[in-house]
Symmetry: C2
Subunit: 190 residues, 2 copies
């Protein structure tokens, strides 16, 4: 096998028909509904793990980027939904950070509480708020690892202007995790 | 600006002339020397931040992937050197994890102690050991943020088979961080 010197990924083709890029997402509920819908579609289309995320301008409600988990199909452990959303947002703004002079505030909505990797990335991304639907404990109960994430970590980020908080649609997001687990059961045990 | 739906990056072109893919990297010192040399070349060529990383098969010393920090040129906060190395290794093996049936053990050498994001990614990557040259405290002293990383985090990973340890060439790696800071000083204040 030859060395690999470059990497590429793209969002699944169904994203085009499921995401309204021109819409204004006014409320937390609307923003989270998009993140959770992305997680569900990713399971139903079998295009990756049961996680979805989206980044919005805080004030305007303008949608900046979306992400879904692409780890298994892309052979890439780094491609959690949040990471994809951070990466695509920076590339769209042509800025490695979403926080800086002349930029509006940005926030991430994600269908599940970020794992240790995605929590760290939230700090580098420049988002000012992270709102999650399913909780880490929900993910763990269903067999998903979250890595080392503690309340102290969230306090560390809050002290640097990045607030983590539980948002709406926990039950709906948890149902997607359960759906994935069920489907995988069929897939691997069939 | 139109939504961005895909992402791509590649290693800088100088990597081709600086990395011997056919060599056997027998010792920790040889493995770390490659990681630190990548960090230095990335500064000298002005192709990204002062960090380099490489993944090896533990027993054979075969080089699997390399990474350098590409955050600023790629407009992508996720592209730390370690993340690039994890991503390219998984893609080369066509496996989202480097740990599994039929795979040899893998380990990451990195020029600086991993930040919170890269520490979390180490758990997902499947490497069994992470060896770092410069310490987190060195990076912080020179003005680089590391995010929330604690000894408890390292214990959490160790309990799951991923050992973090201080390796050789700390002074050499620290010198690269200082070199970058100096260069940036000239660059921005000139």
């Amino acid at each position: 096998m030859k060395p690999v010197l470059s990497a590429r990924y793209e969002l699944p083709s169904w994203v085009g028909s499921k995401v309204d890029w021109g819409a204004t997402y006014a409320s937390d509920a609307e923003r989270m509904a998009l993140a959770v819908e992305l997680s569900r579609q990713n399971v139903e289309h079998r295009t990756g793990g049961p996680f979805g995320a989206a980044i919005f301008e805080r004030e305007s409600g303008r949608l900046v980027s979306v992400g879904v988990n692409l780890v298994v199909p892309a052979h890439d452990c780094t491609l959690h939904a949040e990471m994809v959303a951070f990466s695509l947002a920076g590339r769209r703004l042509e800025s490695f950070t979403l926080h800086g002079p002349g930029l509006p505030e940005h926030e991430l909505f994600t269908s599940c509480e970020p794992c240790a990797m995605c929590m760290g990335a939230a700090l580098w991304s420049g988002v000012r708020r992270v709102s999650f639907a399913a909780h880490g404990v929900d993910a763990r109960e269903l067999g998903f690892e979250e890595g080392p994430v503690s309340p102290e970590d969230h306090r560390y980020l809050a002290a640097r202007g990045v607030v983590f908080e539980a948002g709406p649609l926990r039950a709906e997001a948890r149902a997607v995790l359960a759906l994935y687990k069920e489907g995988e059961g069929v897939l691997y045990n069939g």
